[in-house]
């Protein structure tokens, strides 16, 4: 077998191995990415599933216990809302009225148990309505 073919074979092996590693990583870590409304529409089907849910922290619903690293709030969408209890390191700028993405799982139809909250980055490019 010529050098070029051997190298092509090696590159092919690397490509196949990469695809396998990527697929196994995806299979182990995939989770739904839903808005609050989508989550509530599909709640019966996805209870217990891992998910990232995107919504707005409802007004006058945020309770933060920084000592316990615990946050409770209602995440609102356009039509629906869901209670969130989140533990773990909380972002400093978590506040009511802020768009957030909560990573966790749907414990029951009306409760998301989160372990990570991602907020709008401080640095970037004004959100809708600000410009």
């Amino acid at each position: 077998m010529g050098t070029g073919r051997t190298l092509a074979l090696g590159a092919g092996v690397i490509a196949v191995a990469t695809a396998y590693w990527a697929l196994s990583g995806a299979a182990a870590t995939w989770q739904y990415y839903l808005t609050v409304d989508e989550c509530m529409d599909q709640a019966a089907r996805i209870v217990g599933s891992r998910l990232r849910i995107h919504g707005t922290v409802g007004p006058e619903t945020l309770e933060i216990d920084r000592n316990q690293q615990l946050a409770r709030f209602v995440l609102t969408g356009e039509r629906e809302c869901v209670q969130v209890i989140c533990t773990g390191t909380l972002p400093d700028n978590l506040a009511e009225g802020m768009e957030v993405v909560v990573e966790g799982y749907l414990e029951r139809r009306d409760l998301v148990r989160g372990h990570k909250v991602m907020t709008k980055c401080a640095s970037k490019y004004a959100a809708q309505g600000r410009t």
């Binding site: 709008k120 980055c121 490019y125």
Partner: protein, 669 residues
């Protein structure tokens, strides 16, 4: 001032468009010996953009709240340097900075390439100025940085406290400079594709600009990681966030491009891949901008919803289609001139490494776009976690580390000589010895051991290559070292960059796989033993610092009975923004960082905090410094006429000890 900004923005738009037109027209005119108006129009566009930039900067520094942008991002409380940094915090300001940098890059290219063929120089400038014109048009029609505020206000909203960090003063401009610089290799590749003769005279110019863009973007990414590590307070520096990935992907394809350009220049190979990578890298920079500015991705960095992002998606698609079409239409013209010399030649490793880098880029791209892709293909929108990326990064990273380590002892077009094979074996033994030593000292993670072994292999291979060159030189060793390093400065700078990569890999492996993390509660005056350290809570304090209310604790950190650091993790309350920030405190050594995060204090007596041991993190930042220094050495202009004369006179003195065939080898670059 607002009117001045408006007028000069329009002048910049017209001048950039005219510069692009005159560049292309000038390329035709040069064939018939006519002159061109390219240089004045490029200068005019850059000057007009400079005026707009100065106007906005002055408005930020003087808190001129008549500007809507100033009212949104400045405040009277900001120190001047952070007030100026508001320039690149918002959509319109950052676009202005990027446009200005793109104009400067076009001008710098025009000066740098003044001795190149006129047609190539002018066409490339035409492409670059067309891009500047596009960016300026986006500002004029969708994100005007000089827009007047609709309401009169005496004070602005100001910056988020998280941005008040030195890294944020330079991280965004460096990223934008990197994006702007990637435009040159892309423009050169497009011009090369348009040339029916398919000449390779663009390669030296493309190599210099590719390396510059690669180092600048890499440095920007590392600085962003450093900011996240110090300021975001979660203990890490990389979260596989879509926007982070957006800048990483072009850096990965750019790394492949740096090496493919060499394969083309020295062996006439990988031409289509090189052209494709040059266009793809700049295209991916536009895609990264789409990620940040479209509002499509909910990431740590980007929540905006604006039409600006979609303009960049359109640019991405146009560049992709144009690039793919041009390469397909010239497919036969860019066939390789030579076959791969040996499986153990440099070009073979370049092929393998490029394959790994392109695959890694593809995997990262798919992971980043998983949500819209899965929505389109499967109906359910899903995303993937860090394990998806890490699963691929680890083996490909190890492949890259091995290939980059072996490079100094391999040759273009041929298998290594017997002496090189012996030195490769010695370097391999050094790598095994390092891994064994780390294993004996308690490290049990196989990936960390492999990375350490590969890094030691890379370092010893570099040392062996320098030693071999010096031996071939024949002069006494110190003089021979100096001579070969001087003669082969660009080549050695490249090898040193491989060492920087090894340092980066050691840092990433150590900090990813060896982290220890615990949440603890300590009473004032008490101490606890944790991961070999004694942590004592010496004091709890709270005090008023004007705009901020600060609560911090004093932690005395001791190891083996000896105090090694006093740390002050804190929580700041920013009155203006009504926002808390966590200020971490880090004790950094070459082996590990002790990273402390204060969550709060209860009853004035008990502090709740997270303690993290992050092994080898410092090596990541060291890797960044090595990249920077090596790139500086590599890009430093070649000998001036007078120095070249001195070198030429000195050369026979060194080379008189050297055998003729060795003289040829020393000069083969």
């Amino acid at each position: 001032m607002i009117l001045l900004g408006h007028v000069f923005l329009l002048i910049a738009l017209i001048a950039a468009g005219y510069a692009s037109f005159t560049s292309f027209a000038g390329a035709q005119a040069f064939r018939s010996g006519k002159s061109t108006a390219t240089v004045p129009s490029v200068v005019a566009a850059v000057l007009a953009l400079t005026v707009v930039l100065v106007v906005l900067s002055a408005a930020l520094l003087t808190q001129d709240f008549r500007f809507a942008y100033v009212a949104e991002y400045a405040s009277g409380e900001l120190p001047w340097h952070y007030a100026l940094s508001a320039l690149w915090v918002g959509q319109a300001g950052s676009l202005l900075l990027w446009t200005w940098l793109s104009g400067l890059v076009a001008l710098a290219y025009l000066i740098h390439a003044r001795h190149d063929a006129a047609a190539m120089r002018l066409r490339t400038t035409g492409v670059l100025m067309a891009y500047v014109c596009l960016l300026t048009a986006i500002m004029v029609f969708a994100a005007d940085p000089t827009r007047a505020s609709l309401t009169a206000s005496a004070e602005g909203i100001g910056l988020s406290p998280l941005l008040l960090h030195p890294a944020m003063l330079i991280h965004p401009p460096i990223i934008f400079l990197g994006y702007a610089a990637w435009g040159v290799p892309c423009a050169l590749a497009l011009v090369a594709l348009a040339d029916p003769r398919g000449k390779a005279d663009w390669l030296p110019r493309a190599r210099a600009w590719t390396l510059l863009a690669w180092v600048v973007l890499g440095l920007g990414i590392i600085l962003g990681g450093h900011w996240a590590y110090q300021e975001l307070g979660w203990g890490g520096y990389w979260a596989w966030d879509p926007v982070e990935n957006g800048s990483l992907i072009p850096w990965l394809t750019g790394t492949a491009l740096v090496h493919c350009l060499m394969a083309w220049q020295y062996r006439g190979m990988l031409k289509r891949l090189t052209l494709g990578l040059a266009i793809a890298t700049f295209t991916l920079c536009n895609l990264a901008t789409f990620l940040t500015r479209s509002g499509m991705f909910s990431s740590l960095h980007a929540f905006s919803r604006s039409p600006v992002g979609w303009a960049f998606l359109a640019t991405t698609m146009c560049l992709s289609i144009a690039g793919a079409g041009a390469i397909a239409s010239r497919w036969a013209q860019f066939r390789p001139e030579r076959a791969i010399g040996s499986l153990w030649s440099r070009e073979a490793l370049v092929v393998l490494a490029s394959c790994g880098l392109v695959l890694l880029s593809c995997v990262t791209l798919v992971g980043t776009f998983m949500a819209p892709l899965s929505g389109l293909l499967g109906g359910h929108t899903v995303v993937v976690g860090p394990a998806y990326f890490n699963n691929v990064l680890t083996p490909i990273g190890l492949l890259l580390l091995c290939t980059s380590g072996a490079t100094p002892l391999l040759r273009w077009g041929r298998a290594p000589s017997r002496r090189q094979v012996r030195l490769l074996a010695v370097s391999l033994c050094a790598g095994l010895a390092a891994a064994l030593a780390a294993g004996l000292s308690g490290e049990r993670n196989s990936v960390v051991l492999t990375v350490l072994g590969c890094a030691a292999f890379a370092a010893s291979a570099l040392g062996a290559a320098v030693w071999l060159d010096a031996r071939r030189h024949g002069a006494p060793l110190p003089a021979a070292f100096a001579a070969v390093v001087r003669l082969r400065r660009p080549q050695y700078a490249g090898y040193v960059m491989h060492l920087g990569f090894a340092s980066l890999a050691v840092g990433i492996a150590g900090s990813s796989l060896g982290t220890v993390r615990d949440v603890v509660t300590i009473r004032a005056g008490e101490s606890l033993t944790w991961s070999g350290y004694t942590v004592q809570l010496a004091a709890i304090r709270s005090y008023d610092a004007g705009e901020r209310l600060i609560g911090d604790i004093q932690l005395d950190i001791a190891r083996n009975g000896r105090q090694v650091a006093t740390l002050y993790p804190a929580q700041h309350f920013h009155r203006r923004q009504n926002e808390w920030t966590t200020e971490v405190a880090v004790h950094s050594t070459w082996l590990r960082d002790v990273y402390t995060i204060l969550h709060g204090v209860t009853d004035g007596q008990r502090a709740e905090l997270t303690l993290v041991i992050n092994p080898l993190v410092r090596w990541i930042w060291v890797g960044g410094w090595i990249f920077l220094l090596a790139a500086g050495v590599r890009l430093w202009p070649a000998a001036t006429a007078s120095r070249a004369g001195r070198l030429a006179r000195a050369r026979p003195k060194f080379l008189k000890h050297t055998r003729p065939n060795v003289q040829r080898r020393l000069q083969y670059k």
